[in-house]
């Protein structure tokens, strides 16, 4: 691998990791507060991609289409919270897990009924499909550049939000200790709703970026990114947002460089390598890289 190829793969890994990170942040945030593994998060991503597809037919500028699509995913996230997760709040973990699996399956099948299982071409704007020459033999796709830029901007915004605003600090407090948060006067419902709004924004954006990356969209497209994001959060330490981001980039780089270095005959096993890595991390550090070893909260 020469320098140019390495640079290309590096940006590619950064880009894939960025999408995983956006999805993983939503998972980690909702798990941190509700102890809920929201498998339906992948369907929010899928619906964001489909919303973009349908809105793009109107001929509006892509940026406007993207904003409308993300607003749509926010509404979907809010409805999901209200209809499925608020009534089950405080239920045993297994009930929460089954609820989120149920929501996921229901949304997948609703999407198959509504949009058909046929893959559709994602309306990636031509502008960002072009290759950008960075010199020194490094050519990268505009999609990758946009993906990395958008993801970093969103993560920077999230960091500001959770450190500088009262609602953001309340969210961190609630994730750490729900009872104490209630005693402070924090309205837990507000915090949960905020977590779903932020998670849905990230998932919606991830859906658009994933659509642009893969080029086509279909109703089951949410499964793989949410599974990878789940692995990323486990590797990083479940419930820890920095851990989820770290895990996501490890996974993104790992996948890309495995494919680059492995003999062609083995590249189709890349997911097997990902899950082997997961098992190894869990054997050595069950709490994840940045996870704490504190006993489970009551």
């Amino acid at each position: 691998m020469n320098f140019g190829q390495f640079g290309q793969q590096f940006v590619n890994g950064l880009s894939l990791g960025s999408i995983y990170a956006l999805v993983a942040i939503g998972l980690a945030m909702i798990f941190g507060i509700l102890r809920l593994i929201n498998f339906a998060h992948g369907e929010v991503l899928m619906l964001g991609a489909f919303a973009t597809y349908f809105y793009a037919r109107s001929g509006l500028p892509f940026l406007v289409v993207a904003v409308l699509a993300v607003l749509t995913t926010v509404v979907i996230g809010l409805v999901m919270e209200r209809v499925a997760y608020r009534p089950t709040r405080g239920a045993p973990d297994v009930a929460l897990l089954l609820t989120s699996l149920g929501v996921s399956i229901a949304l997948q099948n609703a999407a198959v009924l509504a949009f058909s299982a046929q893959p559709r071409k994602f309306p990636t704007p031509r502008l960002i499909e072009q290759q950008v020459d960075l010199g020194a033999g490094v050519q990268i796709s505009g999609t990758n550049l946009v993906t990395v830029g958008v993801a970093l901007a969103l993560m920077a915004g999230l960091t500001l939000f959770v450190t500088r605003t009262q609602l953001g600090v309340s969210m961190r407090a609630t994730a750490e200790n729900v009872t104490a948060a209630q005693l402070m006067g924090i309205n837990i419902t507000t915090v949960i709703v905020a977590a779903f709004v932020i998670g849905s924004v990230m998932a919606g954006v991830a859906g658009i970026l994933w659509g642009a990356r893969v080029g086509r969209i279909e109703p089951l497209m949410g499964f793989i990114p949410v599974l990878k994001a789940f692995v990323a959060t486990v590797i990083g330490g479940f419930g820890s947002i920095p851990g989820a981001v770290l895990g996501a980039y490890i996974l993104g780089f790992g996948e890309i460089f495995l494919v680059a270095w492995l003999p062609d005959a083995l590249t189709s096993y890349r997911d097997a390598f990902v899950f082997t890595a997961l098992i190894l991390v869990l054997l050595v550090r069950p709490q994840g890289i940045l996870g704490s070893t504190e006993p489970e909260k009551i």
Binding site: Q166, V169, S170, R172, A173, E176, N177, T179, A180, A181, Q182, L183, M184, G185, I186, N187, I188
Partner: protein, 234 residues
């Protein structure tokens, strides 16, 4: 004025509180003493809305607290420094303190209130940017009380503020409690350290396995031979 009437609280099959009636008048310091497992913490948590009494009534200035969510109870001027401190370990001292004021409407006065907390507990000012989890046990206790005071409570619930502290620190904490009372804060104090609690309190209640077995002026309780034998180690 806080009035509890025939409050029962059970979690699962465990009946922790079995018919407690008590009251706290404005500007009064009332101590709730008794051994481990007597139901003291459960009673305080019921006042804060973390547990629903079944049956039983908890009223504060005429408002039925049993119908309110915990954050609405804080908004009515009742804050709590919980047992075991429950500091947000990953948040800074400043963030912990500011969370105590989440429900405050008069945000312009928060700076003055921070100064007041630093006046009570100067060490917190030195630790302002440090994560709560890095503080010593005594400092965490001061932070927990300071955080509850940031709500500018009309009624302060203190749960075991001296638990696990060195004797010198225990004295510091009780000095602060006495000072708060002198400043006119109404306090309901839960303590295993019955001697200290009854020293600062106006009145006291003695709890045993979820029931009130004795009540009266704190000085009388402290002098009661039964209390002395059971709780004061006399």
């Amino acid at each position: 004025m806080l009035i509890l009437e025939d409050v029962h609280v059970a979690y699962g099959a465990i009946r922790a509180v079995k018919g407690i009636s008590l009251e706290v008048q404005d500007r009064e310091l009332v101590a709730l003493v008794g051994s481990n497992g007597a139901g003291k913490t459960t009673t305080l948590r019921a006042v804060s809305g973390l547990f629903r009494p079944r049956p039983g009534s908890i009223r504060y200035d005429g408002t039925d607290l049993t119908k309110l969510a915990p954050h609405e109870i804080v908004a009515r001027g009742i804050s709590q420094s919980p047992e075991g401190r429950q500091i947000f370990g990953s948040l800074t001292v400043r963030e912990n303190l500011m969370l105590g004021a989440v429900r405050r409407k008069d945000r312009a006065k928060l700076g003055d209130d921070l100064d007041r907390i630093f006046d009570l507990f100067p060490v917190l000012k030195e630790r302002i940017g440090q994560a709560g989890g890095t503080l010593s046990g005594g400092e965490q206790q001061m932070l927990a009380i300071g955080r509850a005071l940031m709500a500018r409570p009309r009624l302060l619930l203190l749960d075991e503020p001296s638990l696990g502290l060195a004797p010198l620190l225990v004295q510091r904490i009780f000095d602060v409690v006495a000072r708060l009372k002198a400043e006119g804060v109404t306090i309901l104090l839960v303590e295993q350290n019955a001697r200290k609690a009854l020293e600062v309190a106006d009145r006291g209640y003695v709890l045993e396995t979820g029931r009130i077995v004795l009540q009266g002026p704190a000085a009388e309780l402290a002098a009661n031979p039964e209390v002395e034998r059971a709780y004061l180690g006399g």
